[in-house]
């Protein structure tokens, strides 16, 4: 759960591109296929199984248990993907880093501190599928937010720039009466 400040509004929520789910998806696919492969190999061996029950029922039982295990792992991976996100509010950029079920880091960067925001789309796949890297440079040179594999990076950069402009205009407007009142 992200705690917003009073009056703060969410402008945009961005997640990683679905391409990052391809590798975990392949992993789950291999998990599901592995017992079928093992069964095919064992079937070709000259092995006589002596069981007190039905061998096919046992094979189905073990496979259903294995699929259930993969099912749970798959959902945990999806949670990891879904809860790993960036939130652009009207005041700051919030980075929620979900690492598995029990490790979560939330950091935020106020727009007053942002100096430069750049989007980088590198490669054929990134160009056609629309994902890339966003770099947010702050006034302190060593501090840089790097967001990788983000979906539609330009849209997010535009949203951040619009908010930075808004915050800057508000700061100028707030400072103007003070400077006018000074002799």
């Amino acid at each position: 759960m992200i705690t917003l400040e009073p009056g703060e509004e969410v402008a945009l929520e961005v997640r990683r591109h679905w391409i990052v789910l391809v590798l975990p998806g392949l992993f789950i696919g291999v998990l599901l296929f592995l017992p079928i492969f093992a069964y095919a190999v064992v079937s070709n061996l000259s092995v006589a199984w002596e069981l007190p029950g039905n061998a096919s029922a046992l094979a189905l039982y073990l496979y259903a248990g294995w699929v259930l295990f993969a099912w749970i792992v798959g959902f945990v991976m999806w949670i990891d993907y879904y809860l790993d996100m960036w939130v652009v509010t009207d005041r700051r950029l919030i980075d929620v880093d979900q690492k598995g079920l029990f490790h979560r880091e939330v950091s935020s960067l106020r727009f007053e501190k942002v100096q430069e925001v750049t989007a980088e789309i590198n490669g054929i796949l990134a160009t056609y599928l629309g994902f890339g890297i966003i770099r947010v440079q702050t006034a302190a040179e060593e501090t840089e937010f790097v967001i990788t594999n983000v979906s539609e990076p330009q849209k997010m950069v535009d949203a951040i720039n619009a908010r930075i402009g808004h915050v800057a205009r508000n700061q100028i407007a707030a400072a103007a009466p003070l400077s006018a009142s000074q002799p």
């Binding site: 759960m1 092995v47 006589a48 029950g53 259903a64 248990g65 699929v67 259930l68 959902f75």
Partner: protein
């Protein structure tokens, strides 16, 4: 002709029921953690409803499948 290798696996039907019980416990514990994350960390309502339905229907179907297989094994 080559003699087949005889593999004796004295797995009783009760062992399969115990295994099913263990998987049901694992599924329940995982469900508690997963549901907590969905509701507490901001999964949107539409996605949450769909994911919850899919997770429980799939998971319970697999547990039922294990139960039917265990029954068929012991029959």
């Amino acid at each position: 002709m080559k003699e087949p290798i005889v593999v004796n696996l004295p797995i009783p039907a009760s062992g399969l029921w115990l295994g099913l019980l263990a998987m049901a416990v694992i599924f329940t514990v995982a469900s508690i953690f997963i549901s907590h994350h969905w509701s507490y960390y901001g999964v949107s309502n539409t996605n949450r409803d769909f994911a919850t339905a899919l997770y429980y229907v799939g998971g319970i179907a697999l547990l039922v499948g294990m139960g039917l297989s265990a029954a068929a094994y012991g029959a």
